[in-house]
């Protein structure tokens, strides 16, 4: 657990980068620091491993004051990932990953074994082991950066905009894998980003900072979307937040309708509907056809695949999107194994949304905050 207690950083020259910050980053959770450029996110993060010394206030790590710990020990005990990865250009991927273990005095064999293990964990092919950073793409470099931070299995990870410098597609991929990895590892993570969408996707709790280094709001993502504390946070959280908040609202029991299904190779004779759903042998939805336009057997390339598919146990946003994107206007709902359970229409989802109580509960991470 990382605890900021009244931490202030005033740079020589007078800039107050962080102002009286108090914050708890619980063990095993991802705490995201988010805010516009220059609001003191990097400064806050770097005060944790004392790359920057606080002007006043204390930061404790599992109850120990970081100011009292030996700097090199403190840093070797926490992984540090930065925007451009900061890989050592003169070392191979394997050597880069093994840096901290070597600093800690591990022998070569143990280090290499660990590095290979990490490459697999972060999804890097073995062939990259002997490559140099200059031979990797930005996304691959970032994976190496994450692997290097995890090498000595530190309980804490500090990440400063680790995915900002890669293109959106790769970023999405890295974020998904990062979440999967965190499910496995359960590290205590302090994650800095200026991208609110990334914060909402990754954070267990989100700290929104405003310029001047003042904490504007600390909340979990759903609460933040539903109850921005003021105009600044509301603005920062951005448009579509009502719709985006549905991502965090579990789907209630929807009035699902059974759907007449067809298989590839069947004919559409006797099907009266405008649209019919085609499934495979395991009852997994494949796409929609218009029976009127099909002559002979249904072939794979006739399918409309535009509709999204929502899991019954997933968030409401998925169900609504499935209904809105379906050519038949009937959203396809599947169970956790991907088998069809039924379809639902948009107005039915909206009804469910209206009936579901808006989560007006007090913010669990900020019990003192008034519920609005």
């Amino acid at each position: 657990m990382i605890v900021f207690d009244g931490v202030t950083k005033r740079y020589p020259g007078g800039t107050v980068a962080v102002d009286n910050l108090s914050l708890v980053a619980p063990n095993g959770k991802i705490t995201v620091l988010v805010g516009p450029s220059g609001c003191g996110k990097t400064t806050s993060l770097r005060m944790v491993n004392r790359m920057i010394r606080p002007t006043s206030g204390t930061i404790t790590l599992d109850g120990r004051d970081t100011a009292r710990m030996k700097e090199s020990d403190l840093r070797r005990g926490m992984g540090y990932v930065i925007q451009h990865a900061g890989l050592f250009p003169h070392r191979t991927v394997l050597e880069n990953i093994g840096t901290v273990p070597r600093l800690l005095g591990w022998d070569r064999r143990r280090t290499d074994a660990r590095a290979h293990e990490l490459m697999e964990q972060v999804g890097l092919d073995e062939v990259f082991a002997s490559r140099y950073p200059s031979q990797l793409s930005g996304g691959q470099q970032q994976r190496v950066g994450v692997a290097r931070a995890l090498a000595a299995d530190p309980p804490v990870l500090l990440m400063d905009e680790p995915f900002s410098a890669v293109d959106p597609v790769v970023r999405e991929q890295l974020q998904d894998e990062f979440l999967r990895l965190q499910d496995e590892l359960g590290k205590t993570i302090l994650f800095v980003t200026h991208d609110i969408d990334e914060a909402i996707k990754l954070g267990d709790q989100i700290a929104v900072l405003r310029v001047g280094g003042v904490l504007a709001q600390l909340a979990d993502p759903a609460y933040l979307l539903n109850h921005p504390v003021d105009d600044f946070v509301a603005d920062f959280v951005g448009r579509d937040r009502g719709y985006r908040a549905l991502s965090f609202q579990p789907t209630p029991r929807l009035p699902l309708r059974p759907e007449r299904t067809l298989l590839i190779g069947e004919t559409t004779q006797g099907v009266a509907q405008d649209w019919a759903l085609v499934v495979d042998d395991a009852n997994h939805p494949l796409g929609w056809v218009e029976p009127r336009r099909v002559t002979g057997e249904i072939r794979s390339e006739m399918l409309h695949r535009g509709g999204t598919v929502a899991r019954a146990s997933g968030p409401l946003r998925g169900a609504l999107d499935a209904a809105l994107s379906s050519p038949s206007r009937r959203g396809v709902i599947v169970d956790d194994s991907g088998s069809l359970v039924g379809t639902v229409q948009a107005h039915e989802v909206l009804n469910a949304i209206e009936e579901a109580a808006r989560p007006e509960v007090a913010d669990p991470t900020n019990p003192g905050a008034p519920a609005r």
Partner: protein, 276 residues
């Protein structure tokens, strides 16, 4: 003329004795080697320190710039006139010459070392500190290995400078291949002068090649782009779809823009290269 030179070079009498080609070559290598070594012992640590701490940079830049403008011939004569009378025998010309060679070798080595360290990718340095390396560890494990290409280019410039100036120093009476040129001129023996000039040129070339060989061995392939695996290097693509053939990025310049990269090359490679 060519025949005269060839017969001078092929005459066995010129290849034996204390003023034979092997002895003169050895003297030349000895003067140059000692000067380079001493200059490196002074300039490399100083340059690394300046690069690592960022202190004294302005002084170093101006010193190196001013040193370039000092004609080695004039410096050599002043030194001999000043120190010569205080020393006796061979030392009267040898010591002033060595001092001049050392003084001339220091600026390129110094600026190579500091530019090399300064050019290390700030993100790599930041990451090194963030993972708990001490200042010394950052310097020895990250900054120095990354600075090696520029350290070597400084060293090679200094070597050229020293080999060339050692030739001229024959005027004040020291040995080395310069003797063939200077003595040949005194007795109007053109074949000997030209032979000497050829030998000096070949020696300079071999010294540079030897240092290039050491550099190739010492510098990580990750910095030179000389990697064996396929698809190496991030070659910049030209507007016409052509590719930057120079697979040698400036150290730590993985994320530096092309422009910055060229300016660093400018600072590191071109500047210290200075003949005499």
């Amino acid at each position: 003329m060519i025949n005269d030179v060839a017969s001078w070079l092929l005459d066995p009498a010129h290849w034996t004795g204390p003023d034979g080609v092997p002895a003169r070559t050895w003297e030349h290598i000895w003067y140059s080697g000692v000067s380079l070594l001493i200059a490196s012992l002074i300039a490399v640590p100083a340059g690394l320190l300046i690069g690592h701490t960022g202190r004294g940079r302005v002084v170093a830049v101006n010193l190196a710039g001013a040193a370039r403008a000092v004609p080695s011939l004039g410096l050599l004569f002043i030194m001999v006139l000043f120190l010569g009378p205080r020393l006796s025998g061979d030392a009267a010309s040898l010591w002033p010459s060595l001092i001049v060679l050392i003084v001339l070798a220091i600026p390129p080595i110094l600026s190579g070392a500091y530019a090399g360290v300064e050019g290390v990718d700030p993100a790599a340095r930041d990451a090194a500190r963030g993972m708990g390396m001490t200042g010394w560890e950052v310097l020895s494990r990250v900054e120095v290995p990354c600075a090696l290409p520029l350290i070597f280019s400084g060293l090679r410039s200094a070597a050229l400078q020293v080999v060339a100036t050692a030739t001229i120093a024959a005027i004040v009476g020291i040995g080395g291949l310069g003797r063939l040129l200077i003595d040949g001129q005194a007795i109007r023996d053109f074949p000997q002068m030209v032979s000497g000039a050829l030998l000096v040129a070949v020696l300079a070339l071999l010294v540079d090649l030897a240092l290039a060989g050491v550099q190739r061995y010492a510098v990580s392939p990750g910095l030179t782009g000389r990697t064996t695996t396929r698809g190496g290097g991030r070659a910049a693509t030209d507007a016409d779809g052509t590719t930057d053939a120079d697979g040698i990025p400036a150290p730590g310049a993985v994320f530096a823009g092309e422009k910055e990269l060229a300016v660093r090359r400018e600072a590191g490679k071109t500047e210290p290269r200075h003949n005499s």
